[in-house]
């Protein structure tokens, strides 16, 4: 009886398992296999040997190291900043009564806007061409500051635009999650705190923050993962030749290794992808460990 039911169960699961197998498990294993095949030839589908050379190559590739550096800077700057700003805006939204819906809509607009379209707008804002200085530069000039080429200029300027852009693009979702988390905190907690004479700061730190900690933690984890996987935003701002712009990201590097001008190296791409996987995994585990102490699920 038990056996029979088991078979029936597997039969029910079969369609889903097939999809997962074909589109997730097989590619994952394949990436792992690729990453150890040395001298793999795309055209003949042959390889010379098995070993760690691909990893060694990738880890010694200055483009990859640049991409890792860019990605880490992006993550370290944008995740805390965007989460913090989103929290501030959500708290403000939560405390106003008039025009609340209007502001919520405005803050949510970037979320439904196309990434590339936003990239274009940022280009107009920041790009310096032969014909125009760009809006931001005009603003800077009016304060007596010399124009900066944000798109093709110094590294820090480009990084600034990228971080600015990333924060702006991830804010709406975070605001959405946090405003609903804040709204779902029972008002009685605040009333009790008021009757007990709790200061505003203490209410925030001791009540609000723990209450919304699951949402906050969710945003931080997905923020980390999302930022580590940054690619399309960078393309939208700096075009597809990211290596020469010095603005490549790890995912960008993987893509370039596969399809870019330097492409045709699935083994290097796979090795880079697995290194990214290891990094994201480590960061997520650290996050989980930290959260055990500080996140309060009800």
């Amino acid at each position: 009886m038990f056996k029979k039911n088991n078979l029936k169960g597997w039969l029910y699961l079969l369609p889903a398992l097939m999809f997962i197998g074909v589109f997730m498990v097989y590619p994952l294993i394949d990436v792992l296999v690729y990453s150890f095949e040395e001298g793999y030839n795309f055209a003949s589908q042959t390889y010379k040997g098995v070993g760690l050379y691909n990893y060694s190559y990738v880890l010694h590739d200055p483009y990859f190291l640049q991409a890792v550096k860019n990605t880490f800077i992006l993550v370290i700057i944008t995740v805390p900043l965007s989460t913090g700003i989103a929290l501030l805006i959500s708290l403000a939204l939560n405390s106003i009564k008039k025009f609340k819906d209007l502001f919520q809509t405005i803050f949510f607009l970037p979320y439904v806007t196309n990434t590339l379209a936003v990239g274009l707008v940022f280009m107009i804002l920041f790009k310096k061409t032969a014909y125009s200085e760009g809006l931001i530069n005009l603003l800077l000039n009016s304060f007596g500051i010399a124009s900066i080429d944000f798109i093709e200029g110094p590294y820090w300027a480009k990084m600034f635009v990228l971080c600015f852009y990333t924060i702006w693009i991830v804010l709406p979702f975070k605001i959405l999650i946090l405003t609903s988390a804040l709204a779902s905190v029972n008002k009685d907690y605040y009333n009790v705190a008021r009757v007990d004479g709790t200061s505003k700061w203490r209410i925030f730190y001791k009540i609000t923050l723990p209450m919304i900690s699951p949402s906050l933690f969710y945003l931080i984890i997905t923020g980390f993962i999302g930022a580590f996987k940054a690619y399309s935003d960078v393309v939208a701002l700096f075009g597809t030749d990211l290596n020469s712009a010095g603005m490549n990201t790890i995912v960008g590097y993987v893509y370039d290794m596969l399809y870019g001008n330097s492409g045709g190296y699935p083994s290097f791409a796979s090795a880079a992808a697995l290194i990214l996987f290891a990094i994201v995994m480590t960061i997520t585990l650290i996050n989980l460990l930290v959260s055990k102490e500080n996140v309060h699920y009800q």
Binding site: D188, N191, R194, V195, D196, R202, S213, H296
Partner: protein, 361 residues
């Protein structure tokens, strides 16, 4: 601490129709004596909780003043009024242990009132002992039963030794057995501390059983206040008579002719008032079956629930319910002939109210 409400009124703008003004509390003008347990009673939405919020300072009155003893607290924020409040859902901070919850109000103290950790812990323990939860200090709220959570909330409200303790529907989230136990606990805690305590409830039995005094409200207005038994036996209007008592009071269409009160053809009492239409309300315990009785009903059946035996009958003048319930001694001989049953009535259990103003006559 006695609480004096002076022409206290609270109006809201209606949520559905912005032009409409809702009066949640209408001209409350009375005094709540020191050290008593007060039940604030009324149907849902009658303004009980608003009254409580006004007293504790979470809401500002539209007009009128509130005094604690001689001190005018109307413009004081809640934290400066020295009140403790327990909310209907207890509002215990779920991420803090019982100890941390109880200590929380003490940690808010600033300046000269600031306490050291040991004093705080001692005070918390003292409050916990009062409500008998001292063994649960390290638990989180979700590891406790509703009744225990309730007591933690009371301990937290008491830890600062407030002059006034306010309880908003303290028993409504508990099951029936726990409700009985908890209301005795509230009574005991109030007696031990002597803190003026007001609790809101829509359950009249709850209010009647433990209060020193009850205040009956209806749609923002004060109906009657007094000792529970007094309000029960001398209701000032039909609403109070109907609201108090289970089973509910039986109400009949009646009239007064020559100072005699009639239901149909049966004279059931006397009132020294002009001839008029009236409501006659008779408590279930006011009926005495008697074959020679002067009040006649159509007999339906006898019901026994626990120790109560009730005669269920009907009468076409009855307006409160299809059934008339008369609670009688279980050994009463009941004679019903041709489907009719006759009663004598206890005078003190028969109340007569005006037809339109519904006030007692």
């Amino acid at each position: 601490m006695k609480i004096v409400l002076e022409h206290l009124t609270k109006q809201f703008i209606s949520r559905h129709n912005k032009k409409e003004i809702v009066t949640a509390v209408n001209d409350f003008d009375f005094e709540i004596p020191d050290g008593k347990l007060i039940g604030l009673l009324g149907p849902s939405g009658c303004g009980k909780s608003t009254t409580l919020n006004l007293i504790c300072g979470l809401e500002e009155p539209t007009s009128g003043r509130i005094y604690f003893d001689e001190l005018d607290v109307t413009d004081l924020p809640p934290e400066n009024r020295g009140v403790g409040m327990v909310f209907q859902n207890y509002a215990l901070y779920p991420h803090l242990t019982v100890r941390q919850n109880i200590v929380f109000p003490l940690e808010n103290l600033k300046g000269e009132q600031k306490l050291d950790r040991e004093t705080m812990n001692n005070k918390a323990l003292e409050a916990a002992k009062l409500v008998q939860i001292e063994e649960l200090m390290e638990r989180k709220p979700n590891e406790m039963s509703g009744g225990q959570q309730q007591r933690v909330a009371i301990a937290r409200a008491l830890v600062k030794q407030p002059g006034v303790l306010l309880l908003d529907e303290p028993l409504s989230n508990l099951d029936a057995r726990l409700r009985l136990q908890t209301r005795e606990q509230i009574r005991r805690i109030q007696k031990e501390t002597g803190i003026t305590t007001i609790f809101v409830t829509h359950d009249q039995e709850e209010a009647m059983s433990i209060s020193d005094m009850i205040i009956v409200m209806k749609s923002g207005s004060l109906m009657q206040m007094g000792k529970p038994q007094e309000v029960y036996s001398k209701p000032v209007n039909l609403f109070v008579a109907k609201f108090l008592g289970t089973p509910a009071i039986n109400v009949f269409d009646g009239y007064v002719r020559d100072h005699k009160v009639y239901i149909g053809d049966d004279a059931v009492g006397e009132r020294n008032v002009p001839d008029q239409e009236v409501h006659v309300a008779i408590r279930p315990e006011g009926f005495i079956p008697d074959p020679e009785g002067y009040f006649c009903c159509d007999f339906d059946r006898i019901e026994t629930t626990g120790r109560d035996t009730s005669i269920v009958c009907h009468n076409n003048k009855c307006t409160s319910d299809d059934d008339i319930r008369a609670i009688v001694e279980s050994d009463t001989q009941i004679n019903n002939k041709d489907g009719k049953i006759r009663f004598r009535l206890k005078d003190s259990k028969v109340h007569v109210f005006g037809k339109t103003d519904e006030k007692v006559l």
